[in-house]
């Protein structure tokens, strides 16, 4: 790829910089919070997640105080149960996953050589959703109404009102809201990594961090939706008494365990892989050489990503499933150790083949590895069902999971904080403080958690608020408590180091790293001064004058003449430039949308139906306004000069566009949630002799009519897209309206089946699961109809034309998924009871 480098005089560059600065400016005053720039959102996200971690850490210290001595009555049992439930929930949902969304949003653009990720407003929306949901869930403990049934929320303890109060609703709704934010972040990360890399950054050149994050975001897409589906069933049971988990009416508590752990186990790797990704950035820098075994890392990331979905039943080894089923999951649980071992040895091999500078980030990284290996080895043990029958739900597992998560996640994150602090702020943290913090954390951690292996094997169950004297647990617990406080003092030292005044560095790249992000100036908002052509995995080591050429604007996008925020879109495999994408700028709409959606979830918790409806309408309005003003805008010219003598289109539709990918990815996640509901249907069929319990089903007639109408509607949608592209706009509009009406008819027919047969969803689980599948489909159809009407309005307003047809193409893509959903849904509820 030999392209002409640009050549600008100092004055020209100053003018360019002036324009760039104006375009990427962060608003001042209170409007600062309306910023959507990745460096602000990433920072807020990270600080909020870190704050939640400290909060959950304090809860852990309080629990350790309660358990320090036997028969202790320092805290009430109610407080203790709320504290351990929130500790797990917050650490998992509000710290471990979000901190990586934060790091990814902050780091990815610089790492990939992009100005911005493709959907900055979506990131902002995700952040505000996360913050609001997080405060809602955490705040509940100050009103003594936090969830208290454990972070896994097993029914019936968590579903029945006589056992758990509003805390369960707060958990379900607050976290459902946060899961929405996670999926938004996953869409952003996948599209960003696939489409927004610097020219020349082929997939064999991608920084390791990007590889890992790509896999992790893919995992989020398949792991979170089953939990969302589970939450839906759970909340239907709590609010309307639909008996999904109530054994007296045909439900089964185990279905929740399946759905929860199909989410819950991949979740562990969703947390762990990004931490390893940070290590994969840090180790080569300090070994002063490229990573050894780049392809092995890809094997490890992809392999872990797949295998981690075959482990969920190892959380259910004591539920009485057939031994052979347990053994399948034992097998997969052992298999996943292999890619994990590969990851560890990739780092060791890289160090062996390099000259290691043992800095503070390396200290935390290596210390984390030492801890993590113990967690991995105890993981090998508990993955074997016979051993797990003893160790399950004891302090042995508490020790195991903290060794894995603190060694495999927290220590690498702290390593990352020390490593990337100069990148974010231009200051460097202290080596001396870092070493003190490390040794406090390392020794404190081991003193706290190592004895738990023994208290567990000596029979101490988890989640006990007290224990009797002298059955062999007291000394272990006292030591654990002491260790926990030493560990906490180490964490505090890190925090203090961050807030200590420091001197600005005079270099952008204090560690002499080789990856692209270190070319960024933290004082400027634009990310890359110009978007370079990449020809190496470690461009700063291998591409001479790269820093200078970037800063002298000799590469792509040296200017912002249009006054718009722009970034390059490139092809998936070989990263050839294909589009100059205009991304959204500063806006209130993201906050309004997030707050009103939050209002929906919070009002639902308290059964304030009217407020729920009002907030729902506001949310819909905000999202439509956001789409209308911020997406698929028709540009003033088809192409623009992107520098280096090249022109690229501004508007792209269909598979090459980022919007199409976002829709595709979202619908894959949505399809996974739907598949989870279908899994539920067949689960009930499996466990019951007659899963209908003699209740009449929706019949064959109405479901078949619904299927036909949905297929017809889909065909009309295809026709509308075709007509629009052919320029026959009026006919396209008619087809759109027709498709909408037919889909509404299909929805009515879909609901008519269970309705006319008088199926009562509170009577038994069979009518309940039929109704929920039908309603799921119809709600999606309603959303599809709104999209069609949106296209119609765009067309009438002249914002969608034959050439600029992104909207209708993406909506058609939605309709592909919707049609599959409808055919499967009504096929199953209508036909399966007949053929079985």
């Amino acid at each position: 790829m030999t392209k002409a480098l640009g050549n600008f005089s100092a004055e020209e560059r100053a003018a360019q910089e002036e324009r760039l600065r104006k375009v990427w400016k962060t608003p001042g005053g209170w409007r600062y919070w309306t910023s959507v720039n990745n460096s602000e959102i990433g920072l807020w996200y990270g600080v909020a997640a870190f704050g939640f971690m400290l909060f959950a850490g304090v809860l852990a210290l309080l629990m350790r105080l309660q358990l320090a001595v036997p028969d202790n009555d320092l805290f009430s049992v109610e407080f203790f149960n709320q504290a351990f439930t929130l500790h797990g929930t917050v650490m998992m949902f509000l710290f471990a996953v979000p901190i990586f969304e934060a790091i990814a949003i902050y780091l990815l653009p610089s790492l990939l050589g992009a100005r911005e990720l493709p959907f900055p407003r979506l990131s902002a929306f995700g952040f505000w959703s996360f913050l609001l949901g997080g405060i809602f869930v955490c705040g509940s403990i100050f009103f003594n109404s936090a969830p208290n049934a454990g972070w896994f929320m097993y029914p019936p303890l968590a579903t029945k009102e006589e056992y758990s109060g509003i805390g369960a609703d707060i958990w379900l709704l607050g976290l459902s809201f946060i899961e929405v934010a996670s999926i938004a972040a996953a869409v952003e990360i996948i599209v960003g990594i696939m489409k927004c890399r610097a020219p020349g950054m082929r997939i064999n050149m991608m920084p390791m961090f990007a590889w890992y994050l790509l896999i992790v975001a893919g995992m989020i897409l398949f792991a979170f939706p089953p939990l969302i589906a589970g939450d839906l069933l759970f909340e239907m049971e709590r609010m309307f008494h639909w008996p999904f988990f109530d054994s007296e009416r045909g439900g089964d508590p185990l279905l929740w365990q399946h759905l929860f752990w199909i989410f819950g186990h991949p979740e562990v790797y969703i947390i762990f892989l990004p931490a390893i990704a940070l290590m994969a950035m840090i180790v080569p820098t300090f070994a002063q050489r490229p990573i050894v075994g780049y392809s092995w890392i890809v094997l490890a990331a992809v392999g872990t990503g797949f295998l981690s979905f075959g482990l969920w039943v190892h959380h259910m080894f004591a539920t009485g499933l057939p031994q052979i089923s347990l053994a399948f999951f034992s097998a997969a649980s052992e298999a996943v150790v292999i890619p994990t071992g590969v990851q560890i040895f990739v780092f060791i091999a890289t160090m062996l083949a390099g000259r290691v500078i043992f800095s503070v980030p390396m200290l935390f990284g290596a210390g984390g590895l030492v801890i993590f290996v113990i967690g991995g080895l105890t993981g090998v043990m508990v993955a074997l069902a016979p051993f797990d029958w003893q160790a399950h739900d004891t302090y042995f597992v508490v020790a195991h999971l903290h060794y894995v998560l603190i060694g495999g996640m927290l220590f690498p994150v702290v390593a990352g904080i020390y490593y990337y602090f100069p990148f974010v702020t231009g200051w460097r943290l202290s080596d001396a403080w870092g070493k003190v913090a490390f040794w406090l954390m390392f020794t404190g951690f081991n003193i706290a958690f190592f004895p738990m292996h023994f208290s567990g094997l000596r029979g101490m169950p988890r989640r006990v608020f007290t224990y009797p004297e002298d059955i062999g647990w007291d000394w272990f617990n006292l030591i654990s408590t002491i260790g926990a406080f030493i560990f906490a003092s180490g964490v505090l030292t890190v925090v203090a180091d961050m807030f200590r005044p420091k001197v600005k560095l005079d270099t952008l790249n204090p560690w002499k790293a080789g990856t692209l992000e270190w070319t960024n100036n933290p004082d400027e908002n634009w990310g890359m001064r110009s978007v370079p052509i990449i020809t190496s995995r470690y461009p700063l080591w291998d591409q001479p004058n790269l820093q200078r050429d970037i800063e002298e604007a000799r590469y792509y996008l040296p200017d912002a003449k249009s006054g718009r925020r722009e970034t390059l879109v490139t092809s998936v495999l070989d990263a050839e430039p294909i589009q100059c994408l205009r991304v959204g700028g500063t806006s209130y709409v993201t906050i309004v949308a997030a707050m009103s959606l939050g209002g929906v979830f919070i009002a639902l918790t308290f059964h304030w139906w009217l407020i729920t409806a009002i907030c729902g309408v506001i949310t819909l309005g905000a999202i439509l306004y956001w789409l209308w003003t911020g997406t698929a805008e028709i540009p003033e010219a088809p192409e623009m000069d992107v520098g280096m003598g090249e022109s690229l289109p501004i508007y792209v539709s269909g598979p090459p566009s980022v919007g199409w990918w976002a829709m595709f990815i979202t619908m894959v996640g949505d399809g996974t949630a739907f598949a989870s509901l279908v899994f539920g249907y067949f689960f009930y069929w499996t466990i019951h002799g007659d899963f209908t319990n003699g209740i009449e089903g929706p019949g064959v007639l109405w479901p078949v009519i619904a299927i036909n109408l949905f297929v017809l509607s889909w065909l009309l949608m295809l026709r509308a897209r075709h007509l629009n592209r052919a320029g026959r706009l009026d006919e396209a509009r008619v087809a759109l309206v027709g498709a909408t009406f037919i889909a509404l008819g299909g929805s009515a027919a879909g609901l008519a089946g269970p309705y006319v047969h008088g199926m009562d969803p509170t009577a038994h689980v069979y009518p309940a699961i039929v109704w929920i599948i039908a309603i799921w489909t119809v709600v999606h159809a309603a959303a599809g109809c709104i999209m069609q009407l949106y296209c119609l309005a765009r067309s009438l307003a002249g914002r969608m034309t034959a050439r600029y047809d992104q909207d209708i193409i993406n909506v058609t893509l939605y309709w592909h998924f919707l049609t599959v959903t409808a055919v499967v849904a009504f096929g199953i509820i209508g036909l399966f009871p007949v053929v079985r």
Binding site: V77, G150, P156, L157, Y163, G251, P253, L254, V292, G293, W296, A318, T319, G320, Q323, L326, A327, A331, E334, A335, G341, V342, I344, F345, V346, I348, A349, L352, V356, M362, A366, L369, V370, L377, V380, M381, A385, P386, F387, D388, W389, Q390, T394, P451, F454, L457, R458, G459, M460, P461, R462, R463, V464, P468, E469, D470, I471, G472, D474, W475
Partner: protein
């Protein structure tokens, strides 16, 4: 019936002092100090680590799993030392870098091939072990001992069945089982999920509403063990323990007969107070009008090692304390407080119950 006759003195007294919780014997205190002193030697793993310890096995399943654990512990320690050793070597300053080719071999052999072989062998052994530890047992087997255990918030209902599965009698919070025979435990729950676990004998099994689970366990030596609920089940999850007495088969038969007998001597005055205050609406005492099914069966409650599901020692004072205000002892308990009863009635009931053997 005295416990000593059944179980042999030493293990009984040792066990009682531990199970009794708050009531420590002097020798046990000395033992605690000794154990503490040796804690960071190698003692954490030694036997005699407690009445509820998986490392102090008293049954074949627990013994096999303990052996499996020790093997994995030794192997795991060696692996850990190896990995940390290589890591330390690789971090050394001023070392000449190794070739990339050699480093690639490290990944292939140590990261991939080695683990694949070791884990394959370990997995095969563990999977082979599963059906051997817990062989197919159905309730129809002739001569099979069967106990139906129901976990309830926050206590255990134990229904002793004859080999055909027909109920003999009901007890609570205490399991008596014969040594050297497999016992089939059928597990149920009417409210939330509990988990039935006797670490000294073997692994746990959940009791799930709407499902009937089963686990067979065998005690290989007589003694007194402690079991507990292992699945979080609400406020007093921590206070849901039970006693397990493993006795010789002959003594077990004797106990079965004795326990099944309906007519037993009783303090008629205490019984009258018991019945007058409505206790019989929830509790059953065999041979009396008290036939409630809601709470624990109190027949022979005075012979139990503990009361309130392993929470208090079985003394008249403790029983009275529990009757007055159960919530204070067991948060979330379903039994109401009886502190409004006239003076002396609670004591009479407590004395009556303590006398039921």
């Amino acid at each position: 019936m005295s416990g000593g006759r059944l179980y042999g003195g030493a293990s009984l007294h040792d066990g009682m002092s531990r199970i009794g919780g708050a009531y420590l014997s002097r020798s046990a205190q000395r033992g605690a100090v000794l154990r503490a002193a040796l804690l960071f030697g190698c003692i954490p793993l030694s036997s005699c680590s407690g009445v509820q310890s998986a490392l102090d096995p008293a049954g074949p399943e627990a013994a096999n799993v303990a052996t499996l654990f020790y093997v994995m512990l030794v192997g795991g320690s060696l692996i850990w030392i190896g990995v940390v050793g290589v890591l330390a070597y690789a971090s050394r300053l001023g070392r000449e870098p190794h070739s990339e080719r050699m480093a690639g071999w490290v990944i292939l052999l140590c990261g991939a091939v080695g683990p694949a072989v070791i884990l394959g062998a370990l997995l095969s052994y563990a999977v082979w072990l599963m059906p051997n530890l817990r062989p197919w047992t159905s309730s129809g087997e002739p001569g099979l001992r069967q106990i139906e255990v129901t976990g309830e918030q926050f206590w255990w209902r134990a229904r002793y069945l004859d080999p055909s599965g027909a109920p003999l009698f009901e007890a609570a919070n205490e399991i008596v089982m014969p040594v050297g025979e497999r016992v089939l435990f059928t597990l149920k729950s009417p409210d939330v999920i509990h988990s039935f676990w006797i670490p000294s004998l073997g692994g746990k099994m959940d009791a799930i509403p709407g499902r009937i689970n089963a686990v067979t366990l065998e005690a290989s030596k007589a003694g007194l063990y402690r079991g507990a609920c292992a699945e979080f089940c609400g406020p007093s999850h921590a206070l849901m323990a039970f006693t397990v007495k493993a006795v010789e088969p002959a003594a077990f038969e004797e106990w079965l007969d004795e326990r099944a007998a309906v007519d037993r001597p009783s303090d008629a005055e205490g019984l009258a107070v018991f019945l007058r205050h409505g206790c019989g609406a929830c509790h059953t005492i065999a041979g009396t009008q008290a036939n409630g099914e809601i709470g624990p069966n109190l027949t022979a409650v005075g012979a139990r090692e503990t009361i309130a599901a392993g929470t208090l020692p079985n003394t008249t004072e403790a029983i009275a304390r529990f009757i007055r205000n159960p919530e204070e002892i067991k948060p979330g308990v379903h039994m109401p407080a009886f502190d409004m009863l006239p003076d002396g009635d609670v004591e009479m009931i407590a004395a009556y119950l303590k006398g039921l053997k």
